[in-house]
């Protein structure tokens, strides 16, 4: 009897501990489903007739589809380039214990992003690259490339070396064995790094705030601009925020196991 009681108590506690994380997201979705008037009503309305009007307005008035595409393109490019450059680098660091490169990555992680902003702003203005996909992708690489290397080193270190040796005996060149044997062995790691890198690029606000323009504006800047159009459009913010957070949440859900593993391994090693 006491055992069941304790179990019930445990679950009550578990639910209580899950309320804060969930509540904010519920409120976000509710805000997006309410009309402008309902959103400034007091007391706040918990039960109401939902409307999809805000989602329609976000796409039609604010041209949100364009911003979603911009974010998708930039995050996709940054992630793709990070993998191409980062995978061989991480493999080499894991295999030959190249600590000096690790130091460079640490510097990249510790430097405040604002420090990159001024030099890049000046360089891009000089080259006429402000408001281009190239400019934004380059700055996002500052975040995603070190992240991919940092995560992948631990995955390569955890890989058995024998398989690779076997491939070499079978007459593969080292490059072939890397591409055909090694990379498929760490495909979980690659998927995890790719998704984490995508999420960080998708969420990136500061670089886009200064270096993007009307053509390349990404979703975090677009939703932020909802509050600077004079009157704050809470309903629009709710709808836009829901649209931005949704893909990230879905991604995160799929790699939830390795996200924690990746963060922990990285944190423990350094």
């Amino acid at each position: 009897m006491t055992k069941i009681l304790r179990l019930i108590l445990f679950y009550v506690g578990a639910v209580v501990l899950c309320v804060p994380p969930v509540f904010v997201f519920v409120w976000m979705i509710l805000t997006g489903l309410k009309t402008g008037v309902q959103n400034i009503a007091y007391p706040p309305e918990f039960i109401f007739t939902p409307t999809l009007e805000n989602f329609r307005a976000v796409f039609q008035q604010y041209n949100f589809f364009r911003y979603l595409m911009n974010s998708l393109i930039i995050a996709g490019l940054a992630t793709g380039i990070s993998l191409v450059l980062g995978l061989p680098a991480a493999y080499s660091i894991a295999k030959y214990r190249q600590g000096k490169i690790g130091l460079m990555i640490l510097v990249a992680r510790m430097t405040p992003f604002v420090s990159y902003l001024l030099p890049w702003y000046i360089i891009f203005r000089y080259l006429g690259l402000v408001d281009t996909y190239m400019a934004l992708t380059i700055t996002h690489l500052i975040i995603t490339l070190p992240m991919v290397i940092w995560l992948m080193v631990s995955f390569f270190e955890g890989m058995p070396a024998e398989l690779e040796d076997a491939a070499m005996i079978d007459g593969c060149s080292r490059l072939q064995s890397f591409l055909i044997i090694v990379l498929p062995l760490v495909r979980n790691g690659i998927a995890t790094s790719a998704i984490i890198s995508f999420i960080f690029s998708w969420n990136q606000f500061l670089f886009s705030l200064i270096l993007s323009g009307p053509r390349t504006k990404t979703v975090p800047v677009a939703v932020y601009n909802f509050i600077s159009y004079g009157k704050i459009d809470w309903a629009g913010i709710g709808a836009a925020a829901t649209l931005i957070v949704l893909p990230v949440s879905v991604f995160a859900f799929f790699v939830r196991k390795t996200i924690v593993q990746g963060l922990t391994m990285g944190a423990l090693k350094k």
Binding site: L17, T111, P112, I122, I138, R174, Y224, I244, K270
Partner: protein, 305 residues
């Protein structure tokens, strides 16, 4: 393409793959290292150079003034304010996140149905786009129509001015930061707890130790390296918190929540003082560096115990 051209290309390709094979330790990291050098090291060097110049963006050329900016910032009241806000905000949020993260991890450290659901829920806050959730918090924190004051008042508690008053703005922002990042600490510590050895616990149970004693004398010392590592990971971003502060308060009311980092942004991009702003950014970098060096020492000591 003629046949000779194809042959030349083939030979060149073979030579290249051969080179990559022979000099693997050099060829594999080289593209990433070159890229990092171009996108990370050069801008940092440029930023460092600007820190020793006086320059307003759009007005003339940078003029070298030696340590002028660093002397100026010593008597800048907003720098002092920025450091105070930074210490207050980071000190409070980091310690709360560590303590709560550890306690919640200990609570969930058992086999139970639904642990996967908890894990999925706990990933949401830190994976979600900071600007988007910060805007939602801004709605919820509204003193007049916000849902937080409504909930407080409906259980008989007084409402708060939250981010609208200089007195409560930092605790309110700490609350948002704690909401967003405690789940990450929880998940990291939880993974650490799961990998702890069983023997000390079995021995303690035989000796009849209480749950509190087990936590204090066994769990805490064993988990300390993970805790410190998680804190270092967290501090890298916490000391440079930008999105949330910029979205919710922009440093206000007045300058009550303007961290040194936010001030350096304002100097550079609102006042366009590139030289002075760069000097402030260098100071922020040094603070992050010193904090991490100290934490790393602590971690190495905790591991060697």
């Amino acid at each position: 393409m003629t046949r000779t051209e194809t042959a030349v290309l083939k030979t060149a390709f073979r030579a290249l793959t051969h080179f990559i094979d022979r000099r693997q330790a050099f060829a594999y990291p080289a593209p990433a290292v070159v890229t990092l050098f171009l996108i990370v090291i050069i801008p940092i060097a440029f930023n460092l150079y600007l820190a020793f110049t006086k320059w307003t963006i759009g007005l003339g050329e940078p003029r070298f003034i030696g340590l002028g900016n660093f002397i100026e910032l010593l008597s800048d009241e907003r720098v002092l304010n920025g450091v105070k806000v930074m210490v207050y905000f980071s000190g409070l949020s980091l310690s709360l996140e560590m303590v709560l993260g550890l306690l919640i991890a200990v609570y969930f450290n058992r086999e139970f149905k639904g642990s996967e659901v908890v894990q999925a829920i706990y990933i949401l806050p830190f994976a979600a786009t900071p600007v988007a959730v910060a805007l939602i918090w801004r709605i919820m924190l509204n003193p007049e129509i916000g849902v937080l004051n409504y909930l407080l008042q409906s259980v008989g508690l007084p409402g708060s001015l939250w981010v609208s008053s200089p007195k409560t703005v930092i605790p309110a922002l700490v609350m948002v930061d704690v909401w967003k990042w405690t789940p990450m600490i929880t998940l990291i510590v939880l993974a650490g707890l799961k990998s702890l050895p069983h023997e000390p616990y079995e021995a303690a149970q035989i000796d009849g130790a209480s749950a509190l004693q087990i936590f204090w004398y066994i769990t805490l010392p064993l988990i300390r390296p993970v805790l410190i590592a998680a804190m270092m990971l967290r501090s890298l971003d916490n000391l440079k918190e930008f999105d949330m502060l910029y979205t919710i308060t922009q440093g206000g009311p007045g300058i009550a929540s303007e961290t040194l980092y936010l001030y350096s942004y304002n100097v550079g991009f609102s006042f366009f003082k590139a030289g002075y702003g760069s000097a402030l950014m260098v100071v922020v970098f040094l603070i992050v560096l010193v904090f991490n060096v100290v934490m790393n020492r602590l971690r190495l000591r905790a591991e060697s115990l």
